[in-house]
Amino acid sequence: MSILIALGVILLILTGVILYVIVIYNGLVALKNNIDKAWSNIDILLKQRFDELPKLIKVCEGYMQHEKTTLEAVIKARSMVSSARSDSEKLSAQNALSDTLKSLFMVVERYPDLKADKAFRQLGARITEIEDQIADRRELFNESVNIYNIRIEQFPDVLIAKVFNFAGRTLWQIDPAHRADVEVSFQHT
């Protein structure tokens, strides 16, 4: 009878452990998908920025007859984004687009009429807003990755992660070139 009781207790504990493993496994799956979702949410904003650019270029064209190079650089960077395939290509194309946009906004300083244009100001504000949101969502993406990476290295999650091959994910690290001080040039062509 005691053996029966012992077996029963073991069975009970085993059931509890299995349920706990299920909770951990489901948690890890949710975390992995959270990362993918966070990445996709950044993509949505990048697409929004991409769609706003033609409007900005259209408004700028009217004023910046002498800044064809700058405008062409923005258009080229935008087309690079649309033709990028891999994640790394997309990332570098998006970074290039951000750089050309920064140059564009710097050059605008020389065109007071353009700066005063209501449509330009509204577009500028919209793009800045999207840029802020992108920055926030990058942080959120990194936070999701961080939570996941910690989980799969912590006990007891590490056991489940090893058994079911949950591999670590890479944080979105900024291109080292962007850590350098920005050199601003006002060369007028």
Binding site: M1, L4, I5, G8, V9, L12, I13, G16, L19, Y20, V23, G27, A30, L31, N34, K37, A38, N41, I44, L45, K55, K58, V59, K118, A119, Q122, L123, A125, R126, E129, D132, Q133, I134, D136, R137, L140, E143, S144, N146, I147, R151
Partner: protein
């Protein structure tokens, strides 16, 4: 009793803030001001000037200008006060310099009265005060219980909660009058002579005189009889001034203090009341003297007209007793000149709309709930009908012996434990989003709760985003508290604000964890007026509140309420179609005048339309509220996902609570499971 708030400073125009005994004011005179709430912007500037020019403490000056009724601003010799008055007047503060007369006698207590056609006689034993038609009277209607001050404060608190401090208003004269009459009114009547000096004075305590003299005017209410006497006195008197703000006015020696455990509070308050009466007589005399003066347009009033505009300056002139012929024209001229600053509109109160009415329950949900309730009721009914009490007891004994009952409880606790564990891990797994960049879906946000509706908790009158009120009654036998009523505010949406923006939270269906908890007994309607602790009573209430401005944690499902409009392309196509149908408009683009649009001409027209549509679209976007303000966090469609609104210091605190709960439930479940197993084994082995 002297409260020295600032030391005397050796300056030519230096005056000191002090509350002296009236008897000691032989040299000094009082500068009395009319207090206001909130302090107008002009008076705010005044505080700075007073500090700069007269070295007066800004905080004290502000305190003495803010409030209700009259108040002592400073005490100083008249020459010094005269330097201050134009400045106060210029900044819209009505003020008077008075030389207070020490009270020579207290009003005699009247025991009865007689009303005749030409006079009212107030009788106090052998003494008598006769008020004849046309006499001058200063009346003080006072409440010695302190309830009026309490009610005024309560109104201020509630109004501040609903409308914001800028729009909070104190009791007006009519409300003050009614409040005094509803308490324990005391009426002092000062009969003045030609020189506005006190000739005689009587005091009537509500219910402590014979009202039969009122004749047909007599009422069955003690307050009502006092009201009648006030009205009759006003009718008989030639000049009648009534003051109802005793206790609210901040005048020397006239403060009403509530002393705990005092045997006879009325007696203590009679001396301040007498002082107040004599000061009001002095004020009356001063105002009469001002009225008698020829109209002089003081430089202060002219300057005030430029700053405040004609109506304000007229008000100042009226308040100071100056009547100014042709003043309005002059003020209008100053006001109308292009150089003159425009009067600023007073800041509007933060008036919030009332909380929305509860949404009617969805019919399908209602039917489902009713069916499940009916099923449960029928099942339980059949069980009870089919089984007698004895059989029920037998079933319970059998359940316990076989281990079925503890097994059921074990399953229940185990399920609850795992549920808590899942929620804990959900909270831990979700990164915190920022308000401005929150994505649609399950999100976690943290920030400060801000009201969207004027929600105020019912007992403690706190402006809040959520409240829950539970009422308990003490059981006579067990002496334990038993809940007999539980209500909450319902799902009232509110805003959550972090350092990047704001979004809306719709709490319908959320698990709400409020930390602010207040207990009270019957009659303890507000924590401000309640004594500490709970009254020894058979009833109590417990109020849980999430006050406005509290840091909260929210996990829920974010949705956008943004309305989808036409895309830019669709709008451009529509605009071009409209252009094609308008021959008159098309003619504008026919530059060569051949009656047809060439490809180049059409391209130009198209570009112009595109630009026009783009600008229009951008302008609309600019006018629309920012994206985050259209995001609403609500209950997820999947019921298994968490929707939590918690007032917490940090996420760790919250998850710790869930960890403790789940741990306790799982251990309990496991224990009960083992117990059920043992029972089952013994039962099967034939030893149960």
């Amino acid at each position: 009793m002297i409260y020295c708030l600032q030391k005397a400073i050796s300056h030519a125009a230096t005056v000191t803030f002090a509350y002296p005994r009236i008897k000691t004011m032989s040299q000094a005179q009082l500068l009395i001001v009319k207090k206001t709430t909130p302090l107008p912007e002009e008076a705010q500037q005044l505080v700075g000037t007073l500090k700069e020019k007269f070295n007066l403490d800004a905080y004290t000056a502000r305190q003495r200008l803010t409030g209700q009724g009259l108040g002592l601003f400073v005490k100083a010799p008249r020459e010094k006060l005269k330097k201050l008055t134009p400045l106060l007047t210029r900044h819209g503060v009505a003020n008077w310099i008075i030389d207070p007369t020490p009270p020579r006698f207290a009003p005699t207590r009247a025991r009865s009265l007689e009303i005749r056609e030409d006079q009212i006689s107030f009788l106090a034993g052998e003494q008598k005060m006769v008020l004849e038609r046309g006499d001058r009277v200063v009346a003080i209607l006072a409440d010695l219980t302190g309830n009026m001050i309490q009610r005024n404060l309560k109104k201020l608190v509630v109004q501040t909660a609903y409308l914001g401090s800028d729009a909070a208003a104190q009791l007006d004269d009519n409300e003050l009058y009614k409040t005094v009459l509803h308490n324990q009114p005391v009426l002092d009547l000062y009969l003045l002579d030609e020189k506005n000096a006190v000739r005689q004075a009587v005091r009537l305590f509500a219910g402590r005189y014979d009202p039969s003299g009122l004749g047909k005017h007599k009422t069955y209410s003690v307050g009502g009889n006092i009201d009648v006497i006030v009205k009759l006195t006003r009718d008989y008197a030639g000049k009648f001034t009534l003051h109802t703000d005793f206790g609210l006015s901040d005048l020397p020696g006239c403060r009403l203090k509530k002393i705990e455990g005092e045997q006879n509070p009325d007696k203590t308050h009679l001396t301040p009341l007498t002082r107040f009466g004599w000061l009001m007589v002095d004020m009356h005399a001063r105002m009469q003297a001002d009225e008698a003066k020829p109209a002089v347009l003081s430089p202060g009033v002219i300057a005030a007209s430029a700053v405040l505009g004609a109506p304000a300056a007229v008000a100042i002139a009226t308040a100071t007793g100056a009547t100014v012929p042709g003043f309005e024209e002059l003020a209008a001229e100053i006001h109308g000149s292009p150089e003159a600053p425009q009067p600023e509109t007073p800041p509007a109160g933060r008036a919030l709309p009332p909380p929305p009415a509860l949404k009617p329950i969805n019919h399908r949900t209602l039917i489902r709930q009713l069916l499940s309730f009916a099923g449960l009721a029928i099942g339980a009914g059949l069980f009870f009908i089919g089984t007698s009490g004895e059989m029920l007891a037998t079933a319970a004994r059998f359940g316990l012996r076989t281990g079925a009952a503890p097994a059921l409880f074990s399953l229940l606790f185990g399920w609850l434990g795992f549920h808590s564990l899942r929620i804990k891990r959900h909270i831990e797994n979700l990164p915190t989003s920022r308000a401005r960049s929150v994505a649609m879906g399950l999100v976690e946000v943290q920030g400060y709760a801000r009201r969207k509706y004027a929600l105020v908790s019912p007992m403690t009158h706190q402006s809040c985003v959520f409240y829950r009120l539970r009422k308990y009654r003490r059981d006579d036998e067990s002496r334990n508290w038993k809940e007999y009523s539980s209500t909450d505010c319902g799902p009232v949406p509110f805003d959550l604000e972090d350092d990047t923006g704001r979004l809306t939270v719709d709490p319908a269906g959320a698990t709400i964890k409020a930390k602010h908890r207040q207990e009270g007994g019957p009659g303890q309607g507000s924590m401000i007026f309640a004594a500490a602790g709970v009254h020894d009573s058979r009833e109590k209430w417990v109020e849980e509140v999430i006050p406005e401005g509290t840091f909260i944690y929210v996990t829920g499902f974010a949705r956008s309420e943004q309305r989808a409009g036409l895309s830019l392309r669709e709008r451009t196509v529509a605009a071009l179609r409209e252009l094609k149908q308008n021959r008159h408009q098309l003619k504008r683009y026919d530059t060569d005048g051949d009656g047809q649009l060439s490809e180049d001409e059409w391209q130009k027209a198209r570009e112009e339309v595109e630009q026009q549509v783009l600008r229009q679209s951008l302008e609309e976007k600019q006018e629309a509220p920012p994206q985050q303000s259209q995001v609403v966090i609500g209950r997820p469609e999947r019921r298994s996902l968490p929707f939590i609104i918690a007032e917490t210091e940090s996420e760790t605190h919250l998850t710790r609570n869930y960890a403790i709960t789940s741990g306790a439930l799982l251990i309990l479940g496991l224990g009960l499971g083992i117990f059920a197993l043992v029972k089952l084994v013994y039962f099967l082995g034939g030893r149960g």
